[in-house]
Symmetry: C2
Subunit: 407 residues, 2 copies
Amino acid sequence: QLDRERFIETMREQAEIGGTEDGGLHRLALSDEDKRIRDWFADRMEAEGLEVRVDEFGNMFGRREGTDPDADPVLVGSHLDSQPYGGIYDGAMGVISALELVRTLNEEGIETTHPIEIVNWTNEEGSRFQPAMQGSGVWAGAHDLEEEYATTDADGVEFEAELERIGYKGDVPAEPTTEYEAYLELHIEQGPSLELEGKDVGVVTGIVGFTWGAITYYGEADHSGPTPMHYRSDALVAAADVITQIRRIPSTLGDRTVGTTGYIDAEPNSINIIPSEVTFTWGFRDPDDAVVEEAFARVLDEAEAAADREGLDWEWEERMRAPSVDFADQCIDAVDAAAADLGYDSMHIFSGAGHDATHLTEICDTGMVFAVSEDGKSHTEAEYTSWDDCYASANTLANAALDIAES
Amino acid sequence: QLDRERFIETMREQAEIGGTEDGGLHRLALSDEDKRIRDWFADRMEAEGLEVRVDEFGNMFGRREGTDPDADPVLVGSHLDSQPYGGIYDGAMGVISALELVRTLNEEGIETTHPIEIVNWTNEEGSRFQPAMQGSGVWAGAHDLEEEYATTDADGVEFEAELERIGYKGDVPAEPTTEYEAYLELHIEQGPSLELEGKDVGVVTGIVGFTWGAITYYGEADHSGPTPMHYRSDALVAAADVITQIRRIPSTLGDRTVGTTGYIDAEPNSINIIPSEVTFTWGFRDPDDAVVEEAFARVLDEAEAAADREGLDWEWEERMRAPSVDFADQCIDAVDAAAADLGYDSMHIFSGAGHDATHLTEICDTGMVFAVSEDGKSHTEAEYTSWDDCYASANTLANAALDIAES
Ligand SMILES: NC(=O)NCCC(=O)O
Ligand SMILES: NC(=O)NCCC(=O)O
C-alpha cells in the first residue's frame, strides 16, 4: 500500500509547477515549466538513491537495482508535460505513482528480483510538437532521432534547440540499452467509460491506432465586397467544408471511430479580406488500423474535392500515424490480479487516447492501469479524478509492478 | 490637368510609409505607420498654405478659401489607412488626388467660388477596429462618438487610447461645422467591372449596403481521442457549418449578393483538443437593403441551428450595418462631364465596396470616381492600377471638383 498522504501531497507539489489560476496545468513540452518539473523530478529521484540518466532526446530514467544481476528491469512511468491549459492528472499521475512505488520500496526495505526503472518520457502530448509520444517513439525505434530533432512548433522553433535550451539533451543514446521485463503505465482514462460502469480502476488491454495530419489551402486574398462570388478562391470555405466532413466521416466507419479538427489558422484573418491561406488539422482514431487508413483516405478525398470547388492549391502532411496495439497477457493479468487483491472493482478497457505504452509494445511486455476520469473530461482544466480514484489506480499500478519485479 | 510626374511621385512617396517588402502597404488605423502618414500629410497640407484642423476622432481636414464668403465648401478626399498587407492605391490615391488638386490650383493661381477642403478620414478600412468608415460615420452622425471611442481591436486595445497615443485626438468637434456643397471621392474599383468592360474610369452611382458581425460559440474542451462523437460540443464544427452557409446564402438571394468569413479564431487551438471557443465573422453586401436584412436573418438562423446540433452556447454581435446609398445627380453629372471633357471612356458603376462617401450622402451631394483595378484585386499586396489609369481617375476627380467649386 502506498502512503496515501504523501502520494496526494506529491501530486499537489508537481501541479504547482506550471499550475494555472483555474487549477489546471500549462506545462508544454520543452517550455520553461517543463525544465522546472524535470529539475524537480531529477532531485526527487536522486533523493531516493536512484541512478539518474537523461538520454539524448530528453527522456529521464531513474534506476533501482534488483537482487538478480541477470534479471531485466521493469520500467514504470509516463510523462510530465501537459496540454495547453490541461489538467493536473494527465501524465503526471503516472510518473508520481512510479516515484511513490520506489519511495515505498525504499521505506519498507523491499528488495526486488528485477531492477525497477522509472521514466518521464519527452513530449507525450504532441500539442506543441507533433507527433505525440515523441520521446518514447524515438526511444523504441519508431521514429528517426534526427527527423524528430528537426520538428518545429507553430512558431517555427526547433525541437532540438529547445531541448538544448532547457538543458535536457542528455548524453545517453535514446534507445533501450538493455532488455526489459515489462513496461507499466498508469494514466487517467480521459473518457467516460469507467465512470459510466461504476468501476474503481481500468485494466487496459490495448490502444487505438491513429492518424494526425494538417492540410493547407492556398487561395487568393481579395476584397470581400466587390469580388463576385464566382471569382473567389476562398481558402477558409474549403477548410470549413472539410472540417464538417471530419465530424461526419466517423459515423460512416465505426462506432469507436472519432474524428477531430483541433487547430486552425487563417491568413490574413481580416473581416473584409477573402482568406488566402488556411492550415487546419485532422485526427482520426479507431481500434482497427484499416479503419484509420480508410479515414485518412477519405479526408484527403474530401480535401481534394473542396480544393477543386474553390480553385485552390493545397498540400497535406501526415504528422503522426500510430498503429493500434494489444497489451501482453503478463501485464493484463498482473493488473487484474493487483486490482482484485486490493479489493477494487475493475474492468477491461481499450484506450481511445494514445500513450507512450503504444511504442513500448515494440520493446517488451506492456500494460496500463486507468483511473476514473470524472465526466470523461481531459485536455482541459476541468479534468478531474477524486483522490480516492487516484489512489486506487496508483496502488494497483504499484502492486502489479511489484508482482512482476518479484517474479 | 494635374502634373502627372508629381502625382506619381507623391503616390510613391506615401507608399513608403508602411510599405511592405512585396510592394504592398501595411498601415493599420492608429498604428505607428498611421501616425507617420498623418504627420506627412499634415506637412504637405501646410506647405500648400491650407488651414489644417484635426477633429476629436482624428479626421484631418485642410481648407483652401474660395472667393464667395457665402459659398459652402466642396469636400474632397478619402483615407490613408490600409488593410493588413493591402495595396498602395486603396484610399491613399483619393487623398493624394485631393492634395494634387490643391497643388495644381495653387500653382496655376486658380481661385474657386467655393472653398475646397481636403480630408483624410480615420479608420476607413475597418480591419483593426470595426466598423469600417468609422471616422466619416462619426462625423456624419451615423455613430455615437463615445461608443466608437470604446471599440477595441482583436488584442483588446481601445480606439481612444490609440488615437491619443499617436497624437491625433484633435480639438475640433467630429461633426460638420458648416454646410457642404458636395463631397467627391476617388477610389480604385476593387472589382473587375471596369477592366472587363475596357473602360478608363468609372462614374459611381451608389454603394451597396452591408452587414458585418461576429459569432462566438462556446463548446467544451475535451480530449480528441477517448471522447465519443456524441459526447462532443465542438465549437469549430459549428463554425465550419456556418462558414459553408455564408458561402451558399448569397446564391439564394441575388446575383450581386456576396457573403464572406474573413476572420476566425479558435481556442485552445491544439491538434488533440476539441475546440472550446471559436469566434468568426460574417459579411454580406447587396445593393438592396432588404436583401442585406434577409442575409443577416439567414446567417443567425444557420448559427442557431449549428449551435443546437453541437449543443453550444453562443452569442453574436452585429459590428456594422451600412445602408445602400445612391449618389446625387449634381455629382454624377460632374464626373460624367469631366471624364468626357478629358476624353476618357467611362461607365456608370455601383460600388460593391464601402466608402466614406456612404456616410457623406447624409450631409451633402456626394459622388465618386473609380479607377480600374487590374484583375479586380484589392485588400492584397497584388492590388494594381497602372499609372495611366491612376492619372485618368485623378484628373477626372480634379475636374469634377473644380467644376462644382466654380459653380
Ligand atoms: N493520453 C494522451 O492524452 N496523449 C496525448 C496524445 C493523444 O492525443 O492521445
Ligand atoms: N473600400 C474599402 O475597401 N473599404 C473598406 C470597407 C469595405 O470592406 O468595404
